[in-house]
Symmetry: C3
Subunit: 147 residues, 3 copies
Amino acid sequence: MPAIILLLMNWHKITLEISTRGKGLQDITSIIRAQLQNWEVREGMCFLFLQHTSASLVLSENWDPTARADLDTFMERLVPDKDAWYTHNLEGPDDATSHIRAMLTDTSLTIPVDDSDLSLGTWQGIYIFEHRSRPHLRKVLMRVMSI
Amino acid sequence: MPAIILLLMNWHKITLEISTRGKGLQDITSIIRAQLQNWEVREGMCFLFLQHTSASLVLSENWDPTARADLDTFMERLVPDKDAWYTHNLEGPDDATSHIRAMLTDTSLTIPVDDSDLSLGTWQGIYIFEHRSRPHLRKVLMRVMSI
Amino acid sequence: MPAIILLLMNWHKITLEISTRGKGLQDITSIIRAQLQNWEVREGMCFLFLQHTSASLVLSENWDPTARADLDTFMERLVPDKDAWYTHNLEGPDDATSHIRAMLTDTSLTIPVDDSDLSLGTWQGIYIFEHRSRPHLRKVLMRVMSI
C-alpha cells in the first residue's frame, strides 16, 4: 500500500434568512458562530455573501452602541434620502441611496476560522447594515472551506 | 483495501481582458457566467480580482439603468475631478480621483457557485466600474475552487 | 490498486504583527511576499484579514507617493476628526472617525497567487491604512490555500 498523505477539505453551506428592522446595523455574529459550531468546523475560511444590493455586510465595533449610531448618522449625512438629483426612485426615496450605500460598504466578508471559532478581533462583530427604511428578509449565503 | 473518502477540490483559473468605454459601470456578469459553464463548475467559490487601482469591481442592481446612473453621479459629486487640492495628477485630472474612487469601492469579489451558476441575488449583476475618462483594457483574474 | 487522482490542497497560516506610525498608508507588500516565499507557495489564493475596526487593508498605487497623500487628504476631508456631531469619542476625537473610515474601505483582501508570487497588477501595493492618530500594533491574519 502506498502511503497517501492528503489534506481532506470539507465544504459546508447554508442560506441564512435574516429579518431586518429597517435602516441600521444589526448584529449577526452569534448566528454565524452557532452555525460553525453546528457543523463542528475547527479551522478554515468562512465566506459570507449577501444576495442584495440595498443592504451590506460590515465588520464593526461590537461594544459601544454609539459607534454604530455614528455610522448610521454618517451615512444619512453622506447619502441623504432627500437629495433632489436622484433619478432611481421607483421604490421610494430610499431606492438610489440604498444602492449607493451598498456600493460604499461590503456585500461579502471573508473571515478565518481557528480553534472552532471565527477569528475576529476582540472588538469586531459581524453586522447586516440595512439601507431600506422598511424591514426586509435578507439572504446571507454562508460557505465554509475547512481542513 | 481501506475505504478512502475524500473531497476532490478542483482549481480553475483564467485572466479575462475586458475593454472599458471610459467612466461608468459595465456589466460583465455574462462573461463570468460563460466561463463557469465552459469549465463545467457545479459548486464552489468564485474569486474575481482586478489588477488595477483606477477601476473597481462592484455588485450592483441589474435591472433599472437609472440605478447605475445615480452611482455614477454620486461618485462625480463625492470625488469631483475638478477639486483644486489634488497633488497626484501626472496622468491628468482623473488620476487622484480614480484611486480615491477605487479605495471607496472594491477591487475583488468573492461569490458562491451553486447548481452550475453564480449564486447572485435576483437583482445583482457584476460590474467593472471604470474611473478613467478614457477607455482602458482591464485585467480581471478569475479563480474558482470547486468540489 | 485503484487510480486515485486528487488535488492536494495545502493550508498555511500565520498572524503577522505590524506596527503602524499613526494615521496614513503603510506598505506591507514585501512582508506578505516574503511569507509566501518562506512557505514555498506556488499557486492558490491568499487571504488577509485585519482584526481591527479602526484601520483598514487597501490595495493602492505603489509608485507615486502623492497618490497616497491624496487618499489621506480625502479621508481627512470626508470624515474630519473635528465634526461636532459624533457621539462615540471614548477614546478621543479619532474614535468615531476611525470606525467610519474603516467601514468605507476594506478589512480583508483576497489575492490570487501564481508563479510563486502575489498576482498584483504592476502598480498595486498592499497597504495598512491606520486611522488612529497614535501608533498601534495591528494584527493581520494571513491564510493561504494552495495547490
